[in-house]
Amino acid sequence: MNGRRRMIAAAGIFLLGSLIVSGVPEARVQETPPASVKPAAATAPGQETPAAPRPARERMAVYVLLAWVWLSIAVLFGLLRLRVREADRVFRMGFDRAAEKAPKGPGY
């Protein structure tokens, strides 16, 4: 049980770590600009500002980030499924109810 917990924790840390190391900095390929006070938009007046990042590299980095997110979700989902199966099996076997009904020791 402890071994599995350790494995889940290690997998979680690995995924989170790799996500931070590879995804986020890549998405920030553009250096953070100094906080500017200019209120003007980057586009001409009267024009809509598109939302998604325009540089191809930054766009690619966002898709990499998205792929990492889904990969992490798939792994965590698999681990959760194992835990759910185990919990359901324990419940079906009635271990939890048996523990409640177990006779208590002297002094109780």
């Binding site: 959760l80 759910v84 419940f91 939890d96």
Partner: protein, 352 residues
């Protein structure tokens, strides 16, 4: 670690909560999936709070700064566009799941005795969520948001006696101006979150107090059906649902990030194609189609009164449908289905 755990336990007494969760049971039936909607709403509320705080660091609720600060968030802040997109899409997800949650409760008649107060607090939470959407729509301060807010705040004017005063209070003046923007911002980040916290605390307390309701047909059987322990069986399943929803949210936020229109001009005429958020579309379409005069009365007034009557009926539904097992209950269910079909039909019509 054990020392720390004991220290925390001595001060907070969390064992009682853990014991409660271990004993808590979730009924198993064909509508069990509806139980996941409540916690999913909380998940999106948490995302809204986090992304909202991040946006508030840079947003300026002034005439000159509102639109420009959002453009700055989207173009200059690292991943600012994504934070804004997640905020916007999680609002959509949250309200969509709120509707599913509400409809699930309405059609399984889970509001019946003794859960009337749970329903009432739920409707108040729905109202607060819609108010979040309405106030948040103006904050980008672009042409569309200004025009839509003008239409939205103009509606109460049709009401006799209090109508003009309500519009004045909402707009902080005769017209939509910079004062309206400040007022909407304060409501969006301060008044509404406090209201939601208060309603949510009561709602969650009542949900725990009465336990999860079973559908009418299950209750009719008169025997206790199969259950699932909340911890860990149900909680892990819920976590799986959260993960999938998070993935969907991230995907849509990346692929369909919302842009922002040109800065609003108070003197400019209303642009073409004004549309409110999707959850107000049916009201918008209804107002558009309503004749100018109905039985000698102002058509807009009649439309507003019908909408208000609908909202009052929704709020008081558990008291109106007080005999859900009988014929009256069936008639109310049929009416609810008709209302739902009408709202969906009107929304689709508005989009065409």
């Amino acid at each position: 670690m054990n020392v720390l755990r004991a220290w925390i336990e001595e001060r907070l007494g969390l064992r009682a909560v853990a014991l409660f969760l271990e004993k808590k049971e979730v009924p198993r039936h064909k509508h069990t999936f509806l139980y996941y909607t409540g916690s999913s709403i909380l998940l999106f509320l948490a995302i809204q709070t986090v992304t909202g705080v991040l946006l508030a660091f840079y947003y300026q609720p002034t005439l000159a700064g509102a639109n420009a600060s959002i453009v700055r968030i989207m173009t200059e802040m690292p991943l600012g566009w994504l934070v804004r997109s997640v905020h916007s899409w999680s609002a959509t997800f949250m309200i969509a799941i709120v509707f599913v949650h509400l409809l699930g409760i309405a059609f399984t008649k889970a509001y019946r005795k003794p859960r009337e107060a749970t329903w009432v607090t739920g409707i108040l939470l729905l109202g607060a969520s819609l108010a979040f959407g309405f106030t948040g729509y103006l904050l980008p301060w672009d042409e569309l948001s200004l025009a839509a807010t003008k239409v939205g705040t103009d509606l109460p004017k049709a009401l006799p006696v209090v109508g003009a005063w309500l519009t004045l209070v909402m707009r902080a003046g005769e017209d939509v101006t910079g004062d309206t923007l400040s007022r909407f911002f304060i409501f969006h980040v301060s008044v509404l979150p406090l209201a939601v916290l208060a309603f949510l605390a009561v709602h969650l307390f009542l949900v725990q107090r009465h336990g999860m309701s079973v559908p009418l047909e299950e209750e009719r059987k008169g025997v206790k059906g199969p259950v699932l322990p909340f911890w860990p069986n149900f909680a892990f399943r819920e976590a799986g649902v959260w993960l999938v929803l998070l993935g969907l949210l991230m995907t849509i936020a990346v692929l369909a990030a919302p842009g922002i229109g040109p800065q609003a001009d108070l003197m400019a005429p209303a642009p073409e194609g004004i549309k409110p958020e999707w959850y107000f579309l049916f009201m918008f379409q209804m107002l558009k189609l309503f004749p100018a005069r109905v039985l000698g009365l102002n058509g807009e007034l009649v439309a507003v009164l019908i909408m208000m009557a609908g909202m009052a009926a929704l709020l008081l539904l558990p008291f109106i449908d007080n005999r859900p097992f009988e014929r009256k209950g069936k008639v109310i269910t049929a009416l609810a289905w008709t209302g739902l079909a009408y709202a969906i039909g009107m929304s689709i019509w508005s989009l065409l």
